[in-house]
């Protein structure tokens, strides 16, 4: 079960079945797509610049806690750098830098 409409469980069941079927039908596409989307976090998409991607990865590590396969050392260093040099964080946020 994906969701519940407690006010009408009959309707809830029917809709859940509909959603499940649609998800099933699209499973391969969605699965592929989800994988592709997740993969896009692990390699730089063409429309994202190298600097921007590096910033994204550092922030992603900070907020999701997900490791980056192959680059844990770099990310660890990035986090340590952020902690050691808070002005860099400020710089990334667009504030005044020294």
């Amino acid at each position: 079960m994906i969701f519940r409409i407690l006010a009408d469980l009959k309707l809830s069941d029917a809709l859940n079945e509909k959603v499940s079927t649609r998800v099933d039908e699209k499973l391969r596409t969605i699965g592929d797509f989800a994988q592709k989307a997740r993969r896009s976090w692990d390699s730089r998409p063409s429309h994202v610049s190298i600097t921007r991607y590096a910033v994204f990865r550092a922030l992603h590590q900070e907020f999701s806690g997900e490791g980056l396969p192959g680059l844990p050392t770099l990310l660890g260093a990035g986090r340590r750098l952020f902690r050691a040099a808070p002005w860099l964080k400020k710089g990334i946020l667009g504030g005044r830098t020294k």
Partner: protein, 370 residues
């Protein structure tokens, strides 16, 4: 004729739009309507003069029968307040776990301090108020002997929707979330859901995120938006007044909440009041606030949530059932989210204090001996 009661309130920080400040103002009005006097005190005040918030000076509290100390994070004045020879009670608003603030040292410290201070409260008074049963249970589990509920605001006067009605555009569905842009509100997953909706949905979707922003987290969301090419479909709005916020509710097609931590979640109630179908997961107090209303999402997978939102919003019969259930829930909550309930709750405490059959404001017996 007996002497009138006075109930003062304190919170370290007050600001316009802040839920705790709003509750303090609401309670002061409700108490005054019941002939119970009292002022609001704060150490750092950003609220305009109309809020009538007084600068905290310990000597100003001498005349009160009861001091309500609102607690939501570390309170630098707590030791001073607890040592004052006054009757005190805590109003607990829940404390967001510190692990959501790993990136913000100060917020993390305040969250940890807030949790530690709960113990000081428990040692000083056994009476506490909570804004939801979820929060009350947490306090009871910590050993608070007497925990009662207090409403957050008066739901009744605001039940009439705007005379302008909905202002929805054709072709694009608008999803709304109202809440601080920060990690535990999980706007990151909302973006992911939007991504799936616009990729697989039956129509295009727009996401409107209303609320103050944690700058670093906002930067992270900006990067996700760029990565997923969602620039045209996401709007951030901050610093809105009541009319602008109301416009956001009227312009939306649905309210979507995937927060990881909520002590009550007032925006769920506001959305139900504006007849927006509510989709929410069941973490923390959300299930309690929703009751049997809305769509309660059990899956944590963004693609499934997207499919659920798209399917239900395309089904008029489902929408009708959901909106009816939400109307019933709002009517149910009107009984407790109102001035009369606040007055009854505080009156019972004050009467008990003046004619103490049960001395709940004193230290527990075992602590008195030590």
């Amino acid at each position: 004729m007996s002497q009138p009661f006075t109930v003062h309130q304190y919170h370290p920080y007050t600001a316009p739009g802040d839920a705790i400040t709003q509750q303090m103002v609401f309670l002061r009005h409700a108490f005054r309507d019941a002939s119970i006097g009292g002022e609001i005190f704060s150490s750092v005040n950003y609220a305009p003069e109309a809020y009538q918030i007084r600068q905290f000076v310990p000597a100003r509290l001498w005349d009160c029968d009861l001091l309500l100390i609102h607690h939501s994070q570390g309170n630098p004045q707590l030791d001073l307040l607890l040592n004052m020879p006054l009757n005190k009670a805590m109003v607990y608003h829940n404390i967001t776990p510190a692990h959501f603030f790993r990136h913000d040292g100060e917020m993390s410290r305040l969250a940890n301090q807030g949790r530690q201070q709960l113990e000081s409260f428990r040692a000083s008074t056994s009476l506490a108020f909570a804004v939801s049963e979820f929060n009350a249970e947490e306090l009871r589990a910590m050993g608070f002997a007497d925990v009662r509920l207090l409403p957050l605001f008066d739901l009744k006067p605001s039940t009439v929707n705007s005379p302008f009605g909905p202002i929805r555009e054709d072709g694009v569905r608008t999803l709304l979330f109202v809440g601080r842009v920060c990690p535990h509100k999980n706007q990151m997953q909302l973006l992911e859901i939007l991504y799936y909706l616009n990729r697989f949905g039956t129509t295009k979707y727009r996401l409107v995120l209303v609320g103050k922003q944690d700058l670093l987290y906002r930067r992270y969301l900006d990067e996700l938006i760029h990565l997923w090419k969602l620039e045209d479909w996401v709007e951030f709005r901050t610093g809105l007044n009541t009319v602008q916020l109301e416009t956001c509710y009227r312009a939306a097609d649905a309210f979507l909440c995937v927060s990881q931590h909520e002590g009550f979640c007032v925006p769920l109630l506001e959305a139900m009041r504006f007849d927006l179908p509510v989709f929410a997961n069941l973490r923390a107090a959300i299930g309690e606030t929703l009751g049997n209303a809305g769509v309660q999402i059990t899956s944590h997978r963004s693609e499934q949530i997207a499919e659920c939102v798209d399917t239900i919003l395309s089904d008029p019969k489902a929408l009708e059932v959901i909106l009816n259930s939400q109307g019933e829930r709002v009517a149910e909550l009107e009984k407790t989210q109102c001035a009369a309930f606040a007055q009854a709750q505080i009156r019972s405490v004050l009467t008990q204090m003046r004619f103490p059959e049960k001395k709940f404001l004193e230290l527990p017996a075992e602590q008195q001996q030590t």
